[in-house]
């Protein structure tokens, strides 16, 4: 067990750098990743006992390299083994270690050829330096299941022959979008949880913010990266107020704002304020700007809804989609009245993409409640109760319905 949290932070920061350097020198992502995981475990044990070595990065490199040789020794092909042994002797080709390698690793783990669950699991293990057990716990699955998922993901990296390179300039924007989406999904998994009892899993939200911060350091000029980091901070800031003492979800309008994390809000607001207008606007910057308007309102009543609606109008042009329409309907209802919002929701029935989720009925119930139609509102909440797979949301919706019963 890692007891010293300072040493743990250091290990987690060094993990992608060491792995990146190994993969750059030897290829073979899967073997290198195993070797680094074992080096991390060895470090966790030894450093706790004997203290952190003077040059922890070299220590990890040495142990991981040795472990890699062991892995190759157990390989049956003698010739390959000798080639690898020779490769190990090669001096580091003078490239600056660390930073670019970490970025290469992120692009590799978030390669569009991998499935989304693979991208998430690989990113957390290879870039985040989490153990399989920790990743499994975060996703609420047995360790053996997660071990299989990671092993399959590594197999596809191998089978697809994915290169350990920064994507060419022409693909960079698309590839970066996938990386951002993976970090966003990791955060969301921790923040809302698609299933299960716990309304929030702090591990995943913290990890997503840590990785977004890392990416922001590696690519400070990318406005959407800054936008994502700001969005995660501004959303996470409300975490403590999202559930009450009994574990029930509390909607934004009823949250106790003194529980919001002021430091995270300040950081998020500062990030988004200095980024807006410096580069083409994108969906993460816009969502961060919307979150900032909410977070800066002293009370729910004082929320600047016209500004939020204006931001949603831009978001609708930049990244149209049913979820944007859904959220825009709420903003529209707050500016022009619930009936205007309900009319906009009506366009989503024909769209079909949200009709099998609880979200459309949950929002419709809310707007009908605002419009004073409690009978119809209750029916919407009850339909939503049947469709959600989240126990906290099911309970929240059932109580909303019961209040109107």
């Amino acid at each position: 067990m890692r007891t010293d949290s300072c040493a743990e932070d250091l290990l987690r920061d060094l993990a992608p750098q060491v792995l990146g350097r190994l993969v750059r020198r030897h290829g073979q992502f899967d073997a290198c990743e195993d070797a680094v995981q074992e080096a991390l475990l060895a470090a966790a044990l030894q450093w706790a006992e004997r203290g952190v070595p003077d040059d922890p990065r070299s220590w990890l490199m040495t142990v991981a390299s040795r472990r890699l040789v062991d892995i190759w020794r157990s390989d049956s092909a003698r010739q390959r083994r000798e080639e690898y042994a020779a490769a190990l002797e090669l001096p580091d080709q003078g490239q600056p270690a660390g930073q670019d390698d970490t970025l290469r690793l992120l692009f590799l783990c978030c390669h569009p050829a991998l499935s989304v669950p693979s991208q998430l699991a690989l990113t957390l293990r290879a870039v985040g330096g989490l153990t399989t057990a920790e990743v499994a716990r975060a996703f609420l699955v047995p360790e053996a299941t997660m071990a299989q998922r990671i092993s399959r993901a590594k197999q596809s990296v191998k089978a697809t022959g994915l290169a350990f390179e920064l994507p060419p300039e022409t693909e960079r924007a698309d590839r970066l979008r996938v990386v951002l989406h993976v970090l966003y999904l990791v955060f969301n998994e921790g923040h809302t949880t698609s299933s299960g009892l716990a309304p929030q899993r702090a591990d995943l939200t913290t990890e997503a913010i840590r990785l977004a911060r890392l990416l922001h350091q590696l690519a400070p000029a990318e406005a959407e990266v800054t936008g994502l980091l700001a969005l995660l901070l501004l959303t996470n800031a409300r975490g403590a107020a999202r559930t009450d003492a009994d574990g029930f979800l509390v909607p934004l309008a009823e949250q106790r704002r003194n529980l919001w994390n002021a430091a995270e809000i300040d950081e998020g607001v500062a990030l988004i304020t200095r980024t807006l207008g410096t580069a083409p606007i994108g969906p993460y910057q816009l969502q961060a700007a919307i979150a900032a308007v909410h977070d800066e309102a002293p009370s729910a009543e004082e929320t600047d809804w016209p500004q939020i609606l204006a931001l949603y109008d831009v978001l609708k042009r930049v990244a149209p989609g049913p979820v944007v329409t859904l959220n825009r309907a709420v903003a529209l209802a707050m500016v022009d009245g619930p009936r205007a919002g309900l009319a906009l929701l009506g366009t989503l029935d024909a769209d079909g993409r949200l009709t099998n989720t609880h979200r459309l009925d949950a929002v419709r119930g809310h707007l009908l409640e605002l419009a004073g139609d409690s009978v119809a509102a209750r029916m919407c909440y009850l339909r939503a109760v049947r469709m959600t797979a989240s126990i906290p949301e099911q309970r929240y919706l059932a109580l909303r319905a019961a209040n109107l019963g």
Binding site: L382, V385, R386, M387, T388, A389, I391, Q394, R395, A398, L399, A401, A402, N403, G405
Partner: protein, 120 residues
């Protein structure tokens, strides 16, 4: 001995027909039960299932697999949640089930989970 304690019915229907106070008590009851089982070292796992109306049923008809919407059993008879407990005796598993039934009034089935050699 491991037992699966299966609860039948529809959580959504329960929540539709019961008042707010009952829903709150039910949530508290389920929390307490899981905590008690965990403290006693008897809980292996427990989960609730999304509403039966969201289920898909796969059957074999005229030589092909057919997927239909909805649960296999009638909606009001489908499984809505389960506990897997590791207990001393069947009597203890039945005792746990009885505690739930006394509260929910819904039927529960207690089934032993079969032992198998580790390589199966």
């Amino acid at each position: 001995m491991k037992y699966m304690i299966m609860m039948f019915g529809s959580a959504a229907t329960m929540m539709e027909t019961q008042p707010r106070e009952w829903i709150l008590e039910m949530i508290e009851f389920m929390h307490q039960l899981d905590e008690d089982l965990r403290n006693a070292g008897e809980l292996v796992s427990s989960d609730g299932l999304a509403d039966g109306t969201q289920a898909k049923t796969v059957t074999f008809q005229d030589g092909i697999t057919v997927v239909t919407d909805g649960p296999f059993a009638e909606s009001k008879e489908s499984v809505i949640g389960f506990w897997i407990v590791d207990v001393e005796s069947q009597a203890r598993a039945v005792e746990i089930a009885s505690r739930v039934v006394a509260f929910t009034h819904g039927p529960i089935e207690v089934r032993q989970v079969m032992d198998a050699p580790p390589d199966l």
